[in-house]
């Protein structure tokens, strides 16, 4: 599978060389941002088996934190206390956004991993709703529904030597690609490690994993922090590329989009979110000409139901098992995680 990953990366790098349509590049960037978010969700949903439906909160926190730090802000917390921050360089703001999202992941993980199943799902939804309400109502900080605008784009700045601000699409495309590749490699390394095997063990059978000494809550928390941080990175990319952030980025529908991407592509596989993300990033563009958004969403919903009914493992495992059927079984099993040769059994309640 390794050669496939390299070929695909080379293909992605080459795209701006032969595609001149700027709108198409724009679609690729936004799709890529969603792919990164979906990859981060997959770490929780696919590998630890926790259906987190508040994932958009981490995306939004990353976007807001990064945007606010690069713009600078001045809020009073009442009682004469206040925080004033001067505008920071974009790369620093971006990193801080990742850290903030990771912290939020730690906090919400601490809180919600006390419960499982339906309770967990509802706590995560509630958390995302609370963050949306805060973004909407804390107008001193977030501008509320008026949105944060004129967010500076990414820039390279070496004092006295070189200065370049990336307003154009192609540099932003490469930044997205770099962050995406880094996230992919980070997730790949993680799930291939001892830690990743422990995550999968506790997805398959939590009491058993616990009984053989896997510190379940600690590992879940680590997965949540990493997942949140990557989602925050996607949010930061979004903020500095689109350059406007409003409370609507916390809408539940975006979490649903990420979930659809992961489920369609194949949860618990590395390539799944990439395949699902690209599919659902490109699909709206293909549908745009003959379907209004409502109909588009109805098609999404229908697809989601059909996939759960007829292709519950997702596209990637279905395709891999199709190819692996011809090869030897041993080869397939020799690569746990990569491409996810084995169909994953989701845990039952």
């Amino acid at each position: 599978m390794r050669w496939l990953e390299w070929t695909f990366l080379a293909f992605l790098i080459s795209i701006p060389l032969w595609v001149t349509d700027q709108y198409f590049i724009h679609i690729l960037i936004t799709t890529g941002i969603f792919v990164i978010a979906a990859m981060s969700l997959n770490l929780l949903l696919g590998y630890t088996g926790q259906l987190s439906l508040g994932h958009v909160a981490f995306f939004g926190i990353g976007a807001y934190a990064s945007a606010l730090l690069s713009l600078g802000f001045d809020v009073s917390l009442g009682g004469g206390l206040g925080i004033a921050v001067d505008p920071k360089p974009v790369w620093l703001a971006f990193l801080a956004g990742i850290v903030m999202a990771g912290l939020a992941g730690w906090f919400i993980g601490k809180l919600s991993f006390k419960v499982r199943g339906a309770y967990f799902v509802i706590v995560t939804i509630s958390f995302a709703e609370v963050t949306r309400m805060v973004a909407l109502n804390w107008i001193d900080l977030t501008e509320g529904p008026m949105a944060l605008s004129s967010i500076p784009p990414f820039a390279i700045y070496i004092p006295g030597l070189f200065e370049e601000t990336f307003y154009k699409k192609v540099p932003n495309y490469y930044i997205m690609l770099a962050v995406g590749t880094l996230s992919y490699v980070a997730i790949q390394r993680t799930v291939g490690s001892r830690f990743g095997r422990a995550m999968i063990a506790l997805r398959e059978n939590e009491p058993l994993a616990q009984s053989v000494g896997v510190p379940v809550t600690r590992f879940l928390l680590l997965a949540a922090v990493m997942s949140a941080a990557i989602a925050g990175a996607a949010g930061g990319l979004y903020a500095h590329y689109i350059r406007i952030v409003d409370p609507d980025i916390f809408l539940f529908i975006y979490t649903v989009t990420m979930v659809i991407m992961v489920i369609t592509g194949g949860k618990g596989t590395l390539a799944g979110p990439v395949v699902g993300g690209i599919l659902f990033g490109i699909l709206p563009e293909l549908l745009r000409d003959f379907a209004i958004p409502e109909v588009q969403w109805m098609i999404y919903g229908l697809l989601m139901i059909l996939i759960v009914f007829f292709l519950p493992q997702g596209i990637v495992p279905a395709v891999t098992s199709l190819f692996a059927g011809r090869g030897t079984r041993r080869q397939r099993d020799a690569q746990p995680g990569v491409g996810g040769g084995q169909p994953t059994q989701s845990h039952s309640e």
């Binding site: 509630s126 989601m304 139901i305 759960v308």
Partner: protein, 290 residues
């Protein structure tokens, strides 16, 4: 003091419909182990049915409400038959994903059919409110409250006193044993989902005329219903009913005395607090489910 009494009155009136929403959701979870994401859409559906019957068709207001409840029950039965029966026995995450898909389809179908413009429904109630001392409540809201309470009592009677209710309780305790005793599980599940959906549609039909009707009105209603059900403990009938009133009180007083902008966030903060200190809900005796 006057303000305090008014807040109490508002909270009690609001609590009735919240309890109705919560009970419908908790029934479906308790008996079927399904987190019903279409709950809010059934709520919206109920409100639009009343609008359709009253405004373009010119039907009597009360007849329209009764009809829309029946339509909600039928839609619920249909959804159960189409979506949940084929995946009976699947794990909770799978059914959740299917219900999310159904929720997206229903919501966008509503948006598609009715467009985004808010609709208002005329009521036959007099504009003069009911005044008790310093507290005033509109007659429409009094009607909403009384109907909501009547529905909750009626559903409780069905569960406690009828053969169907007995079978539902048996299924709740132990599905497999109930099956062995000759309970028709498919029928019980369909009835449960239909009743749950009917209650959501009732809440929508009652509140539609109080507020305005929009295609996305169900989102917040569904999230609040989740909050209520978590507070009461998933699957706990009276927990959900009481949880509805607790949420209404917290929202009303939070909005009145703390910040009205965060009114809708109160419920979620409440869930987070409940889960921190009593993860199985305020009234649970059993271990948590899931």
């Amino acid at each position: 003091m006057d303000q305090l009494l008014q807040h109490v009155a508002n909270a009690i009136i609001l609590g009735g419909t919240y309890a109705l929403l919560g009970v419908g959701l908790t029934l479906v979870f308790g008996i079927m182990k399904v987190v019903n994401f279409t709950h809010g859409e059934l709520y919206t559906f109920g409100a639009y049915m009343v609008y359709l019957l009253v405004v373009p068709l010119g039907l009597d207001f009360f007849v329209a409400i009764a009809f829309s409840i029946i339509m909600g029950i039928m839609l619920g039965a249909l959804l159960e038959f189409l979506l949940l029966r084929p995946i009976r026995g699947a794990d909770i995450d799978t059914t959740m994903l299917v219900m999310i898909g159904a929720w997206i389809i229903l919501q966008n179908a509503e948006q598609f059919t009715w467009s985004g413009i808010a609709k208002s429904i005329p009521t036959p109630f007099s504009a003069d409110p009911l005044v008790l001392g310093t507290v005033s409540v509109s007659w429409n809201r009094v009607f909403v409250f009384l109907t909501a309470i009547a529905m909750i009592v009626a559903v409780n009677a069905v569960i406690q006193r009828t053969k169907l209710g007995q079978a539902m309780r048996a299924t709740f305790q132990d599905r497999d044993t109930a099956m062995l005793m000759g309970v028709n599980i498919n029928l019980i599940y369909m009835a449960t989902f239909a009743i749950g959906s009917g209650l959501a549609a009732t809440a929508g039909a009652l509140l539609g005329p109080v507020f305005v009707v929009t295609p996305t009105m169900g989102n917040l209603a569904a999230l609040k219903a989740f909050a209520i059900v978590i507070m009461g403990g998933l699957g706990n009938f009276w927990g959900a009913a009481i949880g509805g009133f607790i949420l209404a009180f917290v929202e009303e007083f939070g909005a009145g005395y703390i910040s009205s902008g965060y009114r809708d966030a109160m419920g979620f903060l409440l869930i987070i607090l409940v889960l921190m200190y009593r993860p199985t809900g305020l009234f649970s005796q059993k271990e948590r489910i899931g």
